[in-house]
Point group: C2
Chain length 157, copies 2
């Protein structure tokens, strides 16, 4: 309860049905779904491992995995540990890997704006040959934007 209204972007009402952001939110904007993606990104690809790491219910995990497979974000593969029968695991599809920047950007926000000091473990991206990869905000003229105070959101047609 502080500021005056500021330069309000005069609310261009974007019907959620036509908004790719709203659609994306409906597909992956769920706490369990995001946590499951985090697990798979971190390398957990098997049902029970994800379940134990997250403490999620079997039925919810089963439900979310099925949705992610159906959306084409995950796919199932068969693996066989020596002396074990063939089992199934989940990996990201190309469409799923394309979510990595989203996840990393969210992680960066969390690292900067939550948790006071404790940044013990951090999820990062790198190329297969070991170069670090980061997401950056780049202006049209090529300069990097370092703070958000001069940035506004707009809706373009």
């Amino acid at each position: 309860m502080k500021k005056p209204p500021e330069i309000s972007t005069s609310h261009t009402r974007v019907p959620a049905s036509e908004c790719s952001l709203a659609k994306a939110i409906r597909v992956v904007g769920d706490m369990w779904t995001l946590l499951i993606l985090r697990e798979i990104i971190c390398g957990a690809e098997r049902f029970d491992q994800i379940r134990e790491d997250l403490g999620i219910t079997r039925s919810v995990l089963s439900n979310r995995l099925a949705r992610l497979v159906q959306e084409g974000i995950l796919e199932r593969y068969q693996y066989r540990d020596s002396g074990q029968r063939a089992r199934k695991g989940y990996t990201l599809t190309e469409k799923g890997r394309a979510l990595l920047p989203v996840v990393i950007t969210l992680r960066e926000w969390g690292g900067q704006h939550l948790e006071p000091g404790n940044t013990s473990l951090r999820l990062q991206l790198q190329t297969t040959d070991g170069l670090r990869v980061e997401t950056k905000l780049i202006r049209e003229d090529g300069l990097e934007v370092s703070d958000m105070s001069g940035v506004v959101a707009t809706v373009k047609e």
Copy 2:
């Protein structure tokens, strides 16, 4: 059910309690929360306007707004339309504005991987003086990464 296991990143188990990504997911990784942030980013700052745009219940909206205010992502301000009594609206705090890259990255994913052709309206970022701003994946050596196939996630200490 296709691929072989591929170069699995040997699962560094990251306890969710120490992971800034998991924390961020618990704070904003909820469908309604994300949709509300989208509304406010698009310029809707009043209770009933958000409610009508989203078709969300009053009680859920009230609950989510309170949580976002408590987390320091939104703040309330007073406004007064002429000939009306003073009312309250919600805007992003600095911490909330720092979420813009996350939201934009998600929107870009949605635009590219959902909805076949229909990209009528798109949320974008720009500087206050009108320059477009985009999120990009940049390698350590400064080159831009255009496709994700050569990128992997790792957990660093």
